[in-house]
């Protein structure tokens, strides 16, 4: 039978589970390679939190303590949160906005790629880079800041912060669906930097003005940073469950917004 004749029969081609797994793995692998080679991404996402940490945690305040916790330890939790946010927002939003706005996502959508693989790859990328940032902060703190932490505590801190990448990846997908390809990085910074400040990631929570402290309670990064601080014994002793619930609800809201954008794209022309 010729191929032309085969074109007429209605043979359904099912992809096996292992084939689907291969697609997801390759999508994630190339998403990682793509961004690893993108100096704008690696430089801003990894070096900014590290630079801040070195300056404020190791050079300036290394001998100080906040509520009984050494500054170098305290700041691993807060700059860790800051780093996770950056890796996740930039890992999802700017790539998605560019892919959408400049036609590449259409090429992928025209192919038999499972759409979920595309999004999963971006989330996995965000988690990997989050893990890298937090690990490097720990290495710096232990090597130069005299940070001492049991191994289990370190693993818990790393795991919590990496899991905390999910709400911000969801937020990034939502931004990526509503920002233009060129304005996305600016839009991210406009949200990312004020959010970080108001959540006590730069200046510890108790030193913030009263009004900002009240705002912070409504901000997702505050809740992630409190979870991280709780692990190193510097939290405000609020219920961890509440923090997780806030982050979970925030994730759902962002995914809902992203879904609206996704569906809007299905019937609309870009590029």
């Amino acid at each position: 039978m010729s191929t032309a004749a085969a074109a007429l029969t209605n043979t359904e081609i099912e992809r096996s589970t292992s084939h689907n797994a291969t697609i997801f793995l390759k999508e994630a692998k190339y998403e990682f390679l793509k961004n690893l080679r993108l100096r704008v991404y690696t430089a801003s996402v990894i070096s900014f939190p590290l630079m801040f940490y070195v300056l404020f945690g190791l050079v300036l305040n290394a001998k100080e303590a906040i509520g009984g916790t050494g500054v170098p330890t305290y700041l691993i939790a807060t700059y860790g949160t800051f780093g996770v946010m950056g890796a996740s927002l930039f890992g999802t939003a700017s790539g998605l906005a560019a892919d959408r706005g400049l036609g590449w996502l259409q090429v992928k959508r025209a192919s038999p790629m499972p759409p979920f693989a595309y999004f999963t790859a971006k989330v996995v990328l965000s988690m990997i880079f989050s893990a890298i940032v937090v690990s490097l902060l720990l290495v710096l703190g232990i090597s130069f800041g005299g940070v001492r932490m049991p191994l289990g505590e370190m693993a818990k801190l790393l795991g919590t912060l990496v899991a905390g990448s999910l709400p911000f990846s969801a937020m990034g997908l939502a931004i990526g669906y509503f920002a233009g390809p060129n304005s996305a990085p600016a839009a991210i910074n406009l949200i990312y930097l004020p959010l970080s400040f108001c959540s006590g990631l730069w200046v510890p929570y108790m030193f913030l003005p009263k009004l900002v402290r009240q705002i912070a309670l409504a901000l997702p990064p505050y809740h992630l940073s409190q979870l991280a601080l709780g692990i190193v014994g510097a939290g405000r002793h609020e219920s961890a469950a509440t923090h997780w619930e806030v982050l979970f609800a925030f994730t759902l809201i962002c995914l809902g917004v992203a879904r609206i954008g996704f569906q809007r794209d299905q019937g609309k022309l870009y590029g």
């Binding site: 039978m1 010729s2 191929t3 032309a4 004749a5 085969a6 074109a7 007429l8 209605n10 359904e12 081609i13 992809r15 084939h19 291969t22 697609i23 390759k26 999508e27 190339y30 390679l33 793509k34 961004n35 080679r37 993108l38 560019a98 706005g101 400049l102 036609g103 590449w104 259409q106 090429v107 959508r109 025209a110 192919s111 038999p112 790629m113 499972p114 390809p181 299905q266 019937g267 609309k268 022309l269 590029g271």
Partner: protein, 317 residues
């Protein structure tokens, strides 16, 4: 069966011509803009069909509807008898679209590897690289490629899954003459293997060189359809050039004159039949000089078809 397939003239091939993709009464509006107006169009198995038209005619919109990237305002797009958004159908199609930016830090072979993984029976990497003329560029990052090399990479992504139906949207834009010919060869080879190709182009020469069937599209409507020979016959005309004292307005009143324009010291007249026009010209202007009659080229045929669109809105073949 491959050997016999190659020996069989394409017209006798099993299944040849049966519809694999169609637009049925399709209209597509973007707000006020009517990108497509009641378009009916089919692509038969084993054929190369060219959608020919100027920029903004609606070619890309037609392709995107067939790829399920756009929803029609009315009408239905079908691929392999079903909804083009169906993943099952997408496993049998490949597409080369016009794209603003492709991830630049991935290498050519990495892009191909990823797209191949989406398909159930992809072609071997070496075969894809050879078909797209990318053997020497396999390790090059996309961002370091020239415009033509980028086009070839996008072509590679379209064919790597060995699809039965291939959509090529302006595939040779930005290619030099040599690369264009090479791509044409590759498209012919795909058709020899029984593949179906829908390509859009604004080069008449390209449609003529490749297509079994051409549909001329302008301002969202198909204004002519047929084999390349039929299209050319339908629009064949003559060009009369002369130096005359007659004004353009009076020239346009001569029966049979389609168009007249000043070209330096002479005028150029387009007509379907030269003799009666020349007779009339000589009768009206005894001082006429520098008379030349030439056959209108393909470009003129195309221009004639697209420019008359206002009057021939609903003309169909």
């Amino acid at each position: 069966m491959i050997a016999t397939l190659e020996e069989t003239p394409s017209l006798q091939r099993a299944g040849y011509g049966s519809v694999v993709a169609s637009l049925e009464g399709i209209s597509k509006n973007y707000g006020e803009v009517r990108a497509l107006r009641n378009v009916n169009f089919t692509v038969g198995a084993g054929q190369v069909v060219a959608l020919l038209g100027p920029n903004g005619a609606g070619k890309t919109t037609a392709v995107k509807l067939l790829l399920g990237l756009l929803q029609p305002s009315s009408g239905k797009a079908r691929v392999f008898g079903g909804d083009p958004t169906n993943p099952q159908k997408r496993m049998r199609t490949g597409a080369m679209l016009q794209v603003g930016r492709v991830p630049e830090t991935l290498r050519v072979r990495e892009h191909i590897d990823l797209f191949s993984s989406y398909y159930p029976r992809p072609l071997p990497l070496e075969e894809v690289l050879a078909a797209a003329g990318l053997e020497k560029l396999r390790d090059r990052k996309f961002g370091d490629l020239s415009g033509g090399q980028r086009q070839r990479t996008l072509f590679a992504l379209a064919i790597c899954g060995d699809p039965d139906l291939l959509f090529l949207d302006e595939p040779t834009v930005g290619l030099d003459v040599e690369a264009r010919r090479a791509l044409w060869e590759e498209i012919r080879r795909l058709v020899e293997r029984g593949k179906t190709v829908l390509l859009t182009t604004h080069y008449l020469q390209e449609a003529d060189a490749l297509a079994d069937r051409i549909a001329v599209i302008n301002q969202g409507a198909i204004i002519a359809e047929g084999t390349p020979a039929e299209i050319k016959a339908q629009t064949s005309g003559k060009r009369v050039r002369c130096v005359t004292t007659l004004g353009l307005a009076s020239l346009l009143q001569i029966p049979g004159v389609i168009d007249a324009k000043q070209d330096r010291e002479a005028v150029e007249i387009r007509t379907s039949e030269a003799e009666p026009v020349v007779r009339a010209l000589l009768a009206r202007d005894a001082s006429l000089s520098g008379l030349e009659i030439t056959s209108a080229g393909l470009e003129d045929a195309f221009l004639a078809l697209t420019q008359d669109n206002g009057e021939n809105d609903n003309r169909r073949n």
